[in-house]
Structure formats: C-alpha cells, structure tokens
C-alpha cells in the first residue's frame, strides 16, 4: 500500500493506493503520525485508488479511528468501491466510522 497526504484548511487527507493488508503494519505507524500531527479537525481517508482491504487493514482503520477520536478529530472514509466496499460493509464499519460517498 502506498499513500499520499494533503492538508487543506478544512481537512487532512490521506489517499491510499493498492492493497491495505496484513503486510502493511509498518505503514500504520506512519499514517497514525499524520493523524497525530493534523492541524485540522477532519481526517479523510480517500479509498478511490484502494483495490483491496483485508481484516488486518480494517483493524488498522479502527486504530486510526481511535487515534483521531483521542484528538477530537472526525475521521471519514471516502470513495469506497468494489472489493473494498464489500469488506467494509461485511464488517459493518459504517456503524463506527463515518463514510462519505
């Protein structure tokens, strides 16, 4: 998985590319650092270019959500599609994390 970070006045955004899976735990710490250093109250994870997410990847989203909550930052998942949407729907993550189309 690769990612690119952008920050505007309104939101900090991370755009994920490729596959988010159990081999990506090292990357989680880097993305968590983005949350910890965010200067906005919105943290958006854009998944338009994410092809696949496994249960470990969903666990990473939960950890990022907790990091955001701790800092009163609202985390939002955006642009879910295909297999990624299937996994997130199966895990009912929408009950816990905000999702935008």
């Amino acid at each position: 998985m690769d990612f690119k970070t952008t920050e505007t006045a309104e939101a900090t955004e991370v755009r994920l590319t490729g596959r988010l899976e159990f081999t990506d735990h090292d990357r989680l710490g880097v993305i968590a650092a983005v949350v910890q250093g965010a200067r906005t109250q919105r943290f958006v994870i854009d998944m338009i270019d994410l092809e696949f997410i496994d249960s470990a990847g969903l666990g990473m989203l939960m950890i990022l959500q907790e990091e955001a909550e701790t800092r009163n930052i609202k985390m939002i998942l955006r642009n879910l599609r295909g297999d990624v949407k299937r996994s997130i729907d199966l895990a009912r993550l929408g009950e816990i994390i905000a999702i935008e189309a």
Binding site: S55, A56, G59, I63
Partner: protein, 292 residues
C-alpha cells in the same frame, strides 16, 4: 523432461510424471513424494544425475505418480512458470537451505495421498516467501486459468483464502497474537515483533501449504501452517464492533460455503460452491475433497 506413466484404469485420467526444476530429485525426497502422493507400491527412484530429468516415483511402473515442481526459492514469476506446467505439487525448498534440513521439512502437511487422480494442486512455500507473495492472488489466478474458479466468484474466494493465509502466516508460523495490538500503542509493538520474526531464519523456514481440490460442483482449499495452533472455539462468528482483530474468520464464514478447522487450528479448509445457485447440502457433500 516428463515421462509418461501407464495408467491402471481406463476410467481415470492418465497419471502424470514427476518432474522437477532442479537437476535431480534426492532419493529421500522422491521417497517422501512417493509415500505422500500416491505412488504406493512403487519404490523410490533416484533422479537422473546427468540430464536434469527427474526422479519419477513409479516411473514406468504400474503405480500412479504426480507431477511436481521443486524450486530452491519461490517468487511470483517462478511460481507462474511452474504452474504453467500444470503440476500437482509445487514445493519451494528454501533459498540456501541445507539439503539435509530441507528434506526434513514437513512440506506435505495435508494428506494428498488419497485419490491422487482427483484434480487439484498443492503448493508448499516457506513463510519468508509466502509473506510477500500475495499467495491468494496467485492461487486464484491458477484456479481461474485451469477453468475451476468462475471469475464472477473469484473476489469472495480470494478474500477468504487471503484471510486463511494471513492467519496461517501471522498467527501460525510467525506466532504473533493480535492481543498485542489491543495494548496502548500496541500496533507499533506488533509491527516490531513481526519484523523480528521475519528476521528469524528458523521462523521463516516454516512451511505454508495450500492444497486445492475440486469436483464439478465444489472447490476445497486447505491452508496449513506449522505454528502452535489455536482454540477454534475462540474464533469469532460475528463482527466484533470496535475490535482491532478477529474479522478474518467472520469473512470466511460469511463468504465460503463452509469453513472447517482441524489439526488444533493449524489447518483451515475452505469449501466453495462452483455451480450456479445457492449452497445446498448436496453441494457440500461434493466438497469433502480433502478428507475423502
């Protein structure tokens, strides 16, 4: 390189020869293949030391034989090349592995000796190679290529297989518990522990075996590791709210026709329907391909 082996029954597909990518098959290895993969009654034979031809358990004899591809180190391209030869058995011995140690590895964890004429294939990798190989993609590519897996069913099959493989690697062979991630900052510790285990030669030599078999109606895929196993009663059946782990089995149970766990948690067997329509008990009986 391949040698024809005469069949003993006109009703069965012709057995395939045993062939290898290495110069020769060590006699011990040939004996193990013969014992495990259906060459019962055929004495082990050593390989051809000169020409790269393989030792063939049962070669020229009456017993069935399986075609195998052995390689010192597996990567995506080598495995694709091996699969293109339609072997039954593909085994990575391990890069730089001591030959004697490699022969002692239990790379055939699932009994494939029963019904060697049934269609299927068996892939055995070291954990070090399997970790970065996206094995579920490779195996599903191969199932589609062989006309076994309907591309429309691939996505769910691949996710289930991926989860079984991830469990086998992370919790089985690497011996890591997700409980670590529940501690404050535990994901950093988990990540460090994973790196440490992947740096341990003894750990990365542990085997991950993937065994696929199919009938007209069903596919069964076994994923076998060499870890400490786990209590299958603890595998969650439903999504765990804010839990940081445990969703892999939820996915498998939701998307596969059936999931069975054996060998104290070291073997997960996924059953999938092949035909159109919903699952049915009749389909499931067809799926008992790995247990006979």
């Amino acid at each position: 390189m391949d040698a024809a082996v005469s069949d003993t029954s006109p009703d069965l597909p012709a057995p395939r020869a045993f062939s290898v990518l290495r110069d020769r098959v060590p006699p011990d290895m040939a004996a193990r293949v013969a014992a495990r993969f259906g060459a019962a009654g055929a004495g082990p034979e050593s390989g051809d030391a000169d020409g790269g031809a393989a030792g063939i358990p049962g070669d020229g004899g009456p017993g069935p034989a399986v075609e195998a591809q052995l390689m010192e180190r597996a990567d995506h391209d080598r495995l694709r090349a091996a699969f293109d030869r339609n072997p039954f058995l593909t085994v990575e011995l391990g890069e730089g592995a001591d030959e004697a140690a490699a022969l002692l590895d239990d790379w055939s964890g699932v009994s494939a000796a029963d019904h060697p004429h049934w269609p299927g294939f068996y892939l055995s990798l070291t954990t070090g190679s399997a970790y970065g190989l996206q094995c579920a993609v490779l195996v599903c590519d191969e199932l589609v290529r062989r006309g076994v897996l309907d591309p429309q069913r691939r996505s769910n099959t691949e996710l289930c297989l991926h989860e079984a493989i991830a469990n086998a690697i992370v919790h089985g062979n690497l011996g890591l518990s997700s409980a670590t991630k529940s501690q404050p900052g535990g994901y950093r510790l988990f990540s460090q522990m994973m790196r440490d285990r992947l740096d341990d030669p003894a750990v990365v030599r542990r085997r991950l075996d993937i065994f696929c078999r199919w009938s007209d109606r069903a596919i069964a895929i076994a994923v076998v590791d060499q870890g400490g196993g786990f209590d299958t009663d603890l595998a969650p059946a439903v999504t765990g709210g804010k839990a940081r782990s445990g969703r892999g089995f939820v996915f498998m149970r939701a998307l596969a026709a059936r999931v069975t766990v054996t060998d104290g948690g070291r073997c997960t067997v996924l059953h999938f329907d092949r035909g159109p329509g919903d699952r049915s008990p009749a389909d499931h009986s067809q799926a008992d391909l790995l247990t006979g």
